[in-house]
Amino acid sequence: MATNKENNNDKKSRPLLRALLIFAAFIGAFILYAYAIDVTQINFTEPQDPKRQEVTTRVIRALARPDFFVFNEEKRAMNVMIRIPCEGEVTGSQFALSDGRTVTISPNCADTTQDTIVITGSGFQPNTSGIIRWYPPGDTSATRALTSFRTDGEGNLNEDFTMPDIRPSEEPQRLEIEEKWKSGGFLGTGIIGFSEAVKITVEKIIETVLLALMATTVGTLLAIPVGFLAARNLMENIGLPLAAILSGVIGLLIGFVLGDNITKWLLDLASTLTNNTLTGLGIAVVLLIIIGAVLKFAPAKLSGEERSRLATSIEWLRVMFIIILAFFIIAMLAYMGIVLGKSLEGSLGWAAFLARFISFLSEGITVLSPIVMGLLLGLIGASLGSTYGQEAILRTNVTTGRIITGIVSAIGGAIFVYGIGAALNWLYQFDNPERWTTYPSLVAAVILLVVGLAANPKRQYPIGMVIYTALRSLLNIIRSIEPLIYVIVFAVWVGIGPFAGVLALTIHTIAALGKLYSEQVESISEGPIEAITATGASRVQTVVYAVVPQVVPPFIAFTLYRWDINVRFSTVIGFAGGGGIGFVLVQNINLLKYRQASVMMISIAVVVISLDYLSSKIRKRII
């Protein structure tokens, strides 16, 4: 019974409550929109202002006549005379030329600016536009346009106008009737070439598309690892003991420092050895032969159940040796390439960009390789560090495990805190390295030493989820800022131009593609992962064998899609200083050259639409 009553009450009160809620929602919406319209200054007055309408009309008309071509124009003039003021009887006069043009002007004089004067004529170019000018007395160079006209299909002309001004004179005054028409050129249309605007547009639209291409390429390469590391299904069950995590940090540091220094040292050596190009080439060839020999005479024994530790180590050493030699050869080639590129640049003519590319690649190798090698060895160091850390803990008893964990945690924690402190110190210029790096890292070391000794050394910490969460948050932050804003920052760093645009789009591409990729990885079927894991494969092997084959086609599709978006972005990135077509477009608009701007807008539309079509075609093929 009681419940019944309550139900009834409910039913009664509900409609009222609902009505009240709806009413409140209406009031809320009303206030919201009232304020929104006020803030955004939406109004009816400005758009109706005749002056603004006139300007707008002019702009729209200019935009409708894009400045594509240069025309060959011919013109022909005929003079008629008029008297100002009138003398005696007011009549018309006739004028005729031997080529058949005849003109009647009536009346043949004017007293006031109100007098309508009619000019009729025949024998003109049919369907041709022209202009009637007045040569006022005195100043012979000054002319004033009276009216423009257009002849009919038979070459007849009928135009009336008034004089804009009365300047009396003794002599009759001259009116000039000038026709203008396009002739010759391409198929008689008068087109004799493309306009300057078209030439700039083509150049800049290529720049735009290539800008997008560069940003997409570099962004994709960097987004791929991010995509895997930010995929929940791959990361969520990675748990490691404390010692493994922090020995990973130690490995990262050692790897980075080693990679960076070894690379710099190799680069120095390569630079000295290539002072003389011939010696350099000779050494390169010798090294190549050595690599070949190592590959050939120490055949790979990569597998086998009873693979001994020694054999594995030798195999690793061999691989490292080959990599170092190969890098050394590349470094030597790079130094020679810089010289070669510089010397070729002058002699290649229009293909000088190829020589510049050789120089660019070579310089890129010498500038970027220390950091790339550092990061690479850092990653290898981190993975080796965490593997050995884990194995050490798994294979030893609890007491030893505690001691190992304590020591490793203290060192690793100190390094980690020191790094963060140094970064903060640089960013905020505390100028107090001791307070921000040394002391905190000592404190961290002590705390972690205690924690390491006290805690169960085998306890697993969800490091995978930590990396996943950190990476996802970072991606979301980066993605939420538009490339147009990044470009302002990068224009400060590398100057206004397409390079700043490439950097801005690259940053955004990494974040956007990283997220798409990781979602794709999350949506693959788990079965193969399960099966490959069950064979005893390592994590890396599982990713390569079970995940990668599943994600390659969607990754390609996303990349193409991203290229498409980057082309769109790159058309506007110039507005903020990022080069490309946007840069010249905004210049033309600022100079009120709307007919030129129109050409650029059309080119953007054409490029965007055709790339859209192309990429969707390719995407369909792949999936």
């Binding site: 790979a300 024994k301 990569l302 597998s303 086998g304 159940e305 693979r307 594995t312 195999e315 691989v319 593997t387 884990q390 194995e391 798994l394 079965g527 193969p528 399960e530 099966a531 490959i532 894991t533 069950a534 064979t535 005893g536 494969a537 390592s538 890396v540 092997q541 390569v544 064998y545 079970a546 084959p549 599943q550 390659v552 086609p553």
Partner: protein, 250 residues
């Protein structure tokens, strides 16, 4: 010899999938695992190769307790235990050969396998395994171009690549028609008899159990309710395993 002692699995959401299960599998046995859907068969098999972490209990495998091994040691344990799945779990877009070779990943170095460089012996072995299940000619096809029965044979070939001492088969024939089912079960039986590989196979149909199984264990709501010879499953036992309302067909 596989010994499972007091194995319990409680999923994160509180589902008790295995309750204090204990049994032994002597080397070379063909063990059938039966039970209703949801009784915990898949959970049991996956606990043994640690695709699922057991909550409590011990798993002894060749005199090591493997329920808590980690890292390199876990990989060494796993590579000696092959697994065959109901839905085959092949990598669809990879070739049959690559799928089969992936059974060897536990033995090959990371770098070499990432570069796709398998030793010559492994390639030979892969062809031999495919030969054994009768689909050597399909080596270069994409895995998803094969029929269900052929895909399961690739699954078997992949497991054979591991040089396994134990094969876990989770309803290996549930997605296949009866004729194919017998052919696949025949392959498993042959591997069991000729190579002496222990097979632990969950099955739905009692006739398959009686034809292929040396020994049966039955699960009901995570509990071990029967252990014995296949021929011991009479009508009373049947109702114990499958519930009072179950009717025996076939």
């Amino acid at each position: 010899m596989l010994r499972v002692k007091n194995l319990t699995k409680v999923y994160e959401d509180g589902t008790v999938a295995l309750r204090n299960v204990s049994f032994e599998v002597p080397d070379g046995q063909f063990l059938a695992v039966v039970g209703l859907s949801g009784s915990g068969k898949s959970t049991l098999l996956r606990c043994i190769n640690r695709l699922i972490e057991p909550t409590e209990g011990e798993i002894w495998w060749n005199d090591i307790e493997i329920s808590h091994v980690e890292g390199e040691e876990l990989r060494r344990v796993r590579r000696k235990i092959g697994m065959i799945f109901q839905h085959f779990n092949l990598v669809d877009r990879s070739s049959v050969m690559r799928n089969v070779l992936s059974g060897r990943l536990g033995y090959v170095g990371t770098l070499a396998s990432v570069l796709g460089r398998f030793p010559h012996d492994d390639m030979e072995k892969a062809y031999a395994s495919l030969d054994r299940v009768g689909i050597r000619d399909k080596a270069d096809n994409r895995a998803d171009e094969l029929s269900g029965g052929q895909q399961q044979r690739v699954g078997i070939a992949r497991a054979l690549m591991q040089d396994p001492e134990l094969i876990l088969a989770d309803e290996p024939v549930a997605s296949l028609d009866p004729v194919l089912a017998h052919s696949i079960m025949g392959h498993l039986q042959q591997i069991n008899r000729e190579d002496g590989i222990t097979v632990m196979c969950s099955l739905h149909f009692l006739d398959l159990v009686q034809q292929y199984g040396d020994w049966v264990i039955a699960l009901n709501e995570g509990e071990l309710v029967f252990e014995g010879l296949p021929s011991d499953i009479d009508d009373a036992r049947f109702k114990e395993i499958y519930g009072k309302d179950a009717v025996r067909i076939g």
